[in-house]
Subunit: 333 residues, 2 copies
C-alpha cells in the first residue's frame, strides 16, 4: 500500500524543503535548532515515519536481516529465533525468517537477498559446499550456525558438540557407570559425527571400552529413541547408562525403559543433548547437555551486526561450550 504521510507532506506543512526534514529526523547535517524542533514536533503530530525501502535505496541499509532455519517447529530453534529478534529489535533491526524444510536452501537465501537484507544468519546444512560458497562470493555479511566453513565472507558459530558428548559420558562415568550405550542418528550431519566422536573419546578418557554393539542408530525423534533404546537393551542387557544424540531420543529412551519395566534412573541412567524445554517438563526430568540457545542467537546477531557496521572486519569462528544439566534421569550406578 502507498504510504499515507511522506516526507514531502511534512516539508510542505513545515514550509521547508524535504532535505531539511531529512536533516531533522536523521539529526545529520547542519540545521538550525529552531527549525529542527519545529519539524520534529510536526513529524510526531502527523505520525510520519520514513519509508525504510526508500531509505534503503539510498543508504544501502534496509535494517532487515535474514534468518534461515530448517524448521521452526523443531523445538531447538524457537529460542534461538527469539534471541536473534530480541537483539535485532534492540538495534533497530527487523528479521525476515524462512524455513527451508520444503525448499532449496540456496533459493531461499537468494530470495532473501532480493529483499535487500543487510546480513544473514543461517542454518544451512543441506546445500553443498560449492553452492554455499558461490552464494557467499556474492553476498556480504553472513553467519552460518553449526557448520564448518572456510570462506572469507562467512563467519561460523558452532556448539562444541564433541566436548558436549565427552561431558555427557564423563558425567555418566562419574556416577559409576561402566557400560554406557549411545543412541545416535542415521543423519550424516556434522553434529552427529562430532557427538559420536565425543562419546568415544569420553569412553576412552574414563578408561572404558567402546564396542560397536553399544552404538545404535535411528531417527533423531522420540519414536526413533524408543526403538533404538529397545534395540540397545536387547543387544546389551548389561548397559546401565545411555547417552542420547538429542533430547527427543532421550525421552524416547525413557519411554522404552518404562515399557520394559526398567526404572529411570534406578536401573538405567539417561542423558540427552540440547536441553530443549521438553527435557525439564517430563517426568522423570531428563538430564541433558545444555546448549545456551538464547545466548547463541544473541551472539549470532551481535556478530552479524558488527559485520554490517564494519564490512571489512575479519571473519572468524565462534565456539560455544555446552555444559551438563543433571536432572532426575541420571543417577548413581
Amino acid at each position: 500500500m502507498r504510504q499515507k504521510v511522506t516526507i514531502d507532506d511534512v516539508a510542505r506543512k513545515a514550509g521547508v524543503s524535504k532535505q531539511t526534514v531529512s536533516r531533522a529526523i536523521n539529526d545529520k547535517g547542519d540545521i538550525s535548532p529552531i527549525t529542527r524542533e519545529r519539524i520534529l514536533v510536526l513529524v510526531k503530530e502527523m505520525g510520519y515515519r520514513p519509508n525504510r525501502m526508500a531509505q534503503a535505496m539510498n543508504t544501502s541499509r534496509s535494517h532487515m536481516i535474514g534468518l534461515v532455519v530448517p524448521d521452526i517447529t523443531n523445538p531447538f530453534f524457537p529460542e534461538i529465533v527469539r534471541a536473534v529478534q530480541d537483539a535485532a529489535m534492540e538495534n533497530g533491526y527487523t528479521t525476515l525468517i524462512c524455513n527451508t524444510v520444503n525448499s532449496s536452501e540456496i533459493e531461499v537465501l537468494n530470495d532473501l537477498v532480493t529483499h535487500g537484507i543487510d546480513g544473514l544468519i543461517t542454518f544451512t546444512h543441506r546445500a553443498d559446499d560449492e553452492s554455499v560458497s558461490d552464494f557467499a562470493d556474492r553476498f556480504g555479511p553472513m553467519l552460518i550456525i553449526n557448520r564448518e566453513f572456510a570462506h572469507q565472507n562467512i563467519t561460523t558459530l558452532m556448539v562444541d558438540n564433541k566436548a558436549g558428548a565427552c561431558l555427557a559420558v564423563e558425567h555418566l562415568a562419574g556416577l559409576g557407570h561402566k557400560t554406557i550405550g549411545m543412541l545416535s542418528t542415521d543423519l550424516a550431519t556434522l553434529s552427529q559425527t562430532r557427538r559420536v566422536q565425543g562419546y568415544k573419546e569420553g569412553l576412552g578418557d574414563a578408561g572404558l571400552q567402546f564396542d560397536e554393539s553399544l552404538l545404535v542408530q535411528a531417527d533423531p525423534t522420540l519414536a526413533g529413541g524408543l526403538e533404538a533404546a529397545k534395540e540397545l537393551l536387547k543387544r546389551r542387557p548389561d548397559v546401565t547408562a545411555i547417552f542420547a544424540y538429542n533430547d527427543l531420543m532421550g525421552v524416547g529412551a525413557i519411554r522404552a525403559c518404562k515399557d520394559l519395566g526398567l526404572k529411570v534412573p534406578e536401573d538405567i541412567s539417561i542423558i540427552g543433548f540440547d536441553d530443549i524445554q521438553l527435557a525439564s517438563m517430563i517426568s522423570p526430568a531428563l538430564s541433558s547437555v545444555h546448549v545456551d540457545k538464547y545466548e547463541m542467537g544473541r551472539k549470532a546477531f551481535e556478530r552479524i551486526y558488527n559485520l554490517i557496521q564494519e564490512p571489512t572486519s575479519t571473519r572468524d569462528m565462534i565456539g560455544m561450550k555446552p555444559k551438563i544439566i543433571q536432572r532426575e534421569s541420571s543417577g548413581p550406578a
Copy 2:
C-alpha cells in the same frame, strides 16, 4: 549492500533499454518473443534478480507480510508461524516476524509498516482497542487472531474457545465423571473468559452443578498447573476429573497427581487445551482439545493474501472448531 547486478547491466549487455528487460522478466506489455528469450537467457546467466525494494516503490507490493506473535518460544506459536511461512512462500511472499513480549505491540506494528509490508497477521492482545483501531484506520489488510474486533479494515480469525471447553467437559462427563474441576489462568484474556464460559456451560449441559470451589486460578504454566491442581484437590478431594486451561497447566496437573500419589487416569482424569507437541510426548500422554494450528496459519495467510489482491473485499470473521483428542490421561470415572 548495493546490488551486484542491476536491470541496467542486463539491458546494456542485451543492447536494449531497461524497460524492455522489465517487460521480459515480468512478462508484461508487448515484446517480441525473440528478444524476450534472449533477455531471459541473459538474466539467468548473469544471475540477475530484480531488487524487490525498487519494485515495491513502483508497484506498492513488497511481497512481504508482517507476522506478529507474543513469543515464539511459547509452544503454541511455532506451528502457526511455520504454516504462515509455508503458505507465504508458495505465493512468493516472505515473512517479517516480530515478538512483542518485550515491546509495545503498536510500536512493533508501526515499525513493520515502515518496511512496506503488504499485509499483517497479528496476535495483538495487550494493546487496547483504541490503539488498535487507530492503527487499523491507517493500515490496510490486517488480520487479528484470537481477538474479537469490529473494524472495517480488520478480519479476525478465532478458535471457538467456548465450544472447545464445552467439548472437554462433555468428554469428561461422557466418561462418567460427576465432579469436574477447572484450572484456569488469572490473565484476563478473551481465551480465558471463553474457556471458563464453556466449562460452565458444559457442566450445565451435562446436568452438573458448577461451584466456585471447582475453579482455581494460577499462571498458565506448568508450575501454575501444578500449584493450582494441588489447591483444587485439597479443596475438593471429591474431584475425579480436571479440565486445564491449557496443556502446560494440564501437564502440571499430572505432575501434581503424581506428587500426591494419585494415578492418572485411574484416580483422576485430566484434559488440556491447545494440543501442543508436548501433550503427546509425556507419559501418560495428555488428552487435549486440539486446535489445528497449522490450518490456522494457512487460513490466516490465505485470507490476508486475498485481501492484498482485492483490497476492497469485505472483512469477516473466520472461526475454527476445535476437537477432542483422547490420550492416556483421561479415562472412565
